[in-house]
Amino acid sequence: MRNFLITILFIFVQTGFAFVEIDSEAPNFELTDTYGNKVSLESFKGKKVVLEWTNHGCPFVAKHYKTKNMQSTQELAKSQEVVWLSIISSAPGTQGYVTQEEANELTITREASPAHVLLDPTGKAGMLYSAKTTPHMYVINEKGLLKYQGAIDDAGGRGFMFKDLLEAKNYVKNAIRELNQGKRITDPVTKPYGCSVKYAG
């Protein structure tokens, strides 16, 4: 019965991407984190939230972690009391799919500091945000409104592997700073770049 329901759900989510608009309400989701807790976006109302779609096997993600670019962005978020949610939407059997233990191991070895790592093997949350790449970043304000979506920085484009990420313009850091200063986000939408999210095909 449970499998049947999941299948139905799959068909439902496959009917197409929802898409999210800047300044509109960020859709709610509930996922299980790597410690088995249910975590919903709603429960963070009153705090800023960053969503990071990730896949450790993706070379783009790997470079962001190897150069500590992702970790330093996470640290900035943490110091500003911004909730960081790393979301893995890889379907079972695809690249980047991990068990709870594997995900925790990755967090430790990479010295990452997300508030939660959420597992989304059905791709439900990914589809809801029309997350296309890893990494694909979203910033949500205290009122639950989407304020930024797109790439982590401007290093995307051809020749990414040659670039020094610490010199790139980090859109997520900028968005967090600008939100804190009550300013308007300079670049609210950018082109996300990276590997495709490995949804169940």
């Binding site: 496959q14 197409g16 991407f17 898409f19 608009e21 300044d23 096997g57 993706c58 070379p59 783009f60 695809t94 690249q95 589809m127 029309s130 296309k132 790449t133 979506q149 995307g156 484009g157 051809r158 020749g159 990414f160 592997m161 040659f162 009550g182 300013k183 308007r184 939408v189 082109k191 770049y193 990276g194 590997c195 495709s196 999210v197 490995k198 949804y199 095909g201």
Partner: protein, 661 residues
């Protein structure tokens, strides 16, 4: 770099892909141009990307290592294929691709030369592998001779997009773009697909609707789910005929959405400066001017230097105050933006509110309504501070205390500043501050000029009343802006709103009863009028009123009768599913100029709706040798009808309609 040649070769094998550098000739002379290709051979099922990779991935990048007098062109990308990665879409190449580059040498280039490049690319299937290789090829001195690869390179060159030979246009209609054009050998095309150059223009996954008309094609492409404003509609179309694909470049300028950024910032600053100057002759400020200057002179004794210093400090005080107002305004504005208010003339709400503001300002100038508390006399300000600080603070206070009088002016400055970027707002207020303080500065430098100033009197009141007219002129202009956004009925609503506010203000003006409770009682209807007038403001765009056009449904009998009467007839064959028809209707047929001309020239407009493939209409189409849409016929009073082009523009249509007799 010395070891480069020893280690790199012309072919490098990587996992699931191999790269090879090819040249059209193995030899060349100094000054020659050489076509070079990077051939990627991928394992079956693997792909690499185009310059716009689509939803994921990244195109290859080439870093040349060449002598200083040799240069390389950008990559010439062959047209891509669609490679779906459910539920995403990517653009790239499967199995094999050659990326071309042109190498330019000069007369001084030393040949033999080694062409050396570092290439990075992605080979992807379900997963992506980043790859990097260094390839090089030696070129000998000698005349260019065809190498074994020349054929492949030239064949690839044919896959590189070429300029569009002919005319085309792009229109945006309800969430999608329609690309229409005329191609050579039109009847041989089977299908067309558009690949966008950039992210944020069109949707990658949705199907594109291709429509082939008699001489032209239309392609409807959904706009991107996340849209980024672009200056042009840029990309490549893949035109397929008999399994052969050619690629054509598309680059069509898109109309900017902004209609309001017409102000020249310099003009605004000059007006702000003049506004500041005018502030000085407002009834409650002018009398103070001479008193204040005399006080400076008095306090400085005989020292002109000291008087000037006082004047300067006063000016600084004034300017600082104005800049503070600007800063407050910017904070307010960004606060507003963060909760989603758009301070733009594109919003009917903002335009209507500004219209009310200017009507009210004009009324205030004309009447005796006083805003805020009664004016404290500037000259009575005395502080037990040092002279310098006092002058500065007097400047600050001059702005604050004179505000009941200056508020109407400030109102208009604020109104316009809100529409501008923050930096411009600062400049506007700076201009206002300089204008306001300049007379003080000049007079404190040369107090003897005071004798030339006119005496305060009734003329100031007259001047104040006169200032109502520029305010109302601004209101009129805003109404014109609004008339492009909402329909007549809503314009009337806003005018009624203005009537209510002004009658409310009149009530307030006449409300000088001694008794408190009466005064409060009269304020109540004012408040109600105000609320009602705000309620009348239109909140969104509405369909604009156009001259009504009689639209008759086509029947052969009706057409025949009209022809007998020698009437001018325009016959439009259309259908709901015809993209070209819909675009023509939106950009040409239904525009107000065309409608007006049709009414003025007494042309009968007939519509033959073929949405349900009515056989009567089919036979009419056949009569004109057509099996499809669109078809536009213009019947002169006598003789055969004119057949109009399939792609109509307002100009083409107007010239046909004007000339028909």
């Amino acid at each position: 770099m010395i070891s480069t040649e020893a280690f790199s070769s012309s072919i490098v094998d990587a996992s699931d892909s191999r790269i090879e550098i090819l040249t059209e000739s193995n030899s060349m002379q100094p000054g020659d141009e050489l076509l070079v290709g990077f051939k990627f051979t991928l394992s079956s099922g693997w792909h690499t990307y185009w310059e716009n990779p689509g939803d994921a991935g990244e195109g290859a990048s080439i870093k040349w290592n060449l002598p200083s007098d040799v240069s390389a062109s950008k990559i010439l990308w062959p047209g891509p294929e669609r490679i779906p990665v459910e539920p995403l879409m990517t653009f790239g190449y499967e199995n094999e691709v050659v990326l071309l580059t042109k190498i330019y040498t000069s007369e001084t280039t030393a040949i033999p030369v080694t062409l050396n490049a570092r290439v990075s690319w992605y080979t992807c299937k379900e997963i992506c592998i980043p790859q990097e290789a260094e390839v090089s090829i030696p070129i000998n001195l000698g005349n260019k001779t065809s190498s074994a690869s020349k054929g492949l390179l030239e064949q690839t060159l044919k896959q590189v997009p070429v300029k569009f030979n002919g005319t085309y246009r792009v229109q945006k209609l309800d969430g999608s773009y329609v690309l229409q054009g005329e191609l050579e050998e039109h009847d041989q095309h089977d299908s067309i697909y558009f690949f966008p150059k950039d992210y944020g223009l069109t949707n990658y996954t949705e199907n594109q609707l291709y429509e082939k008309n008699k001489d032209t094609f239309s392609l409807q492409i959904m706009a991107s789910e996340v849209e980024i404003e672009k200056e042009s509609f840029k990309g490549v179309i893949a035109v397929k005929k008999n399994e052969e694909v050619t690629f054509i470049e598309i680059d069509y300028p898109l109309a900017s959405k902004n209609i309001s950024q017409e102000f020249n910032i310099l003009t605004l600053i000059v007006f702000a400066f003049l506004g500041g100057l005018i502030l000085n002759i407002m009834p409650c400020v002018f009398p103070i001017l001479s008193i204040k200057i005399l006080r400076f002179v008095e306090k400085s004794g005989d020292s002109t230097y000291k008087t000037l210093q006082q004047g300067l400090l006063f000016s600084v005080g004034v300017i600082v105050s104005f800049l503070t107002i600007a800063a407050l305004l910017i904070t307010l504005k960004s606060g507003g933006e963060s909760i989603g208010w758009g301070y733009q003339l594109q919003s009917p709400v903002v335009v209507s509110l500004l219209f009310y503001l200017f009507v009210v300002l004009g009324f205030i100038f004309m009447s005796n309504v006083v805003l805020g508390s009664s004016l404290a006399r500037l000259s009575s300000i005395s502080l037990n501070k040092s002279d310098s600080i006092e002058s500065f603070l007097t400047g600050v206070l001059a702005v604050i205390v004179a505000s009941p009088c200056t508020a109407p002016f400030m109102g208009s400055a604020i109104g316009f500043a809100l529409l501008q970027p923050s930096f411009y707002s600062i400049l506007i207020f700076l201009g206002l501050g300089i204008g306001f303080s300049l007379p003080y500065l000049i007079l404190s430098a040369k107090p003897s000029l005071l004798n030339f100033l006119p005496k305060p009197g009734q003329w100031m009141e007259t001047f104040k009343q006169f200032m109502a007219f520029p305010m109302w002129a601004s209101a009129l202009w805003l109404l014109w802006v609004l008339s492009n956004q909402v329909n007549n009925q809503e314009i009337i609503q806003v005018l009624v709103g203005a009537l209510m506010i002004t009658s409310g203000l009149w009530l307030i003006e006449k409300n000088n009863s001694e008794r408190n409770w009466i005064r409060w009682l009269v304020r109540l209807p004012f408040l109600l009028l105000l609320i009602f007038s705000l309620w009348l403001i239109p909140t969104s765009y509405s369909d604009l009123d156009e001259p009504k056009q009689d639209q008759l449904a086509y029947t052969p009998k009706l057409l025949e009768d009209l022809r007998k009467e020698n009437a001018l007839v325009f016959l439009n064959f259309t259908a709901d599913w015809c993209i070209t028809c819909k675009v023509n209707e939106a950009v040409a047929l239904k525009t107000s100029k065309v409608r007006k001309l049709i009414v003025d020239k007494n042309i009968t407009y007939l519509e033959a709706d073929w949405t349900r493939k009515d056989p009567i209409i089919s036979s009419a189409l056949e009569q004109y040798g057509r099996t499809g849409l669109p078809l536009y016929l213009l019947f002169p009073s006598k003789g055969d009808p004119l057949i109009l082009p399939e792609i109509l523009t307002e100009d083409i249509l107007l010239s046909y309609l004007t000339e028909v007799q």
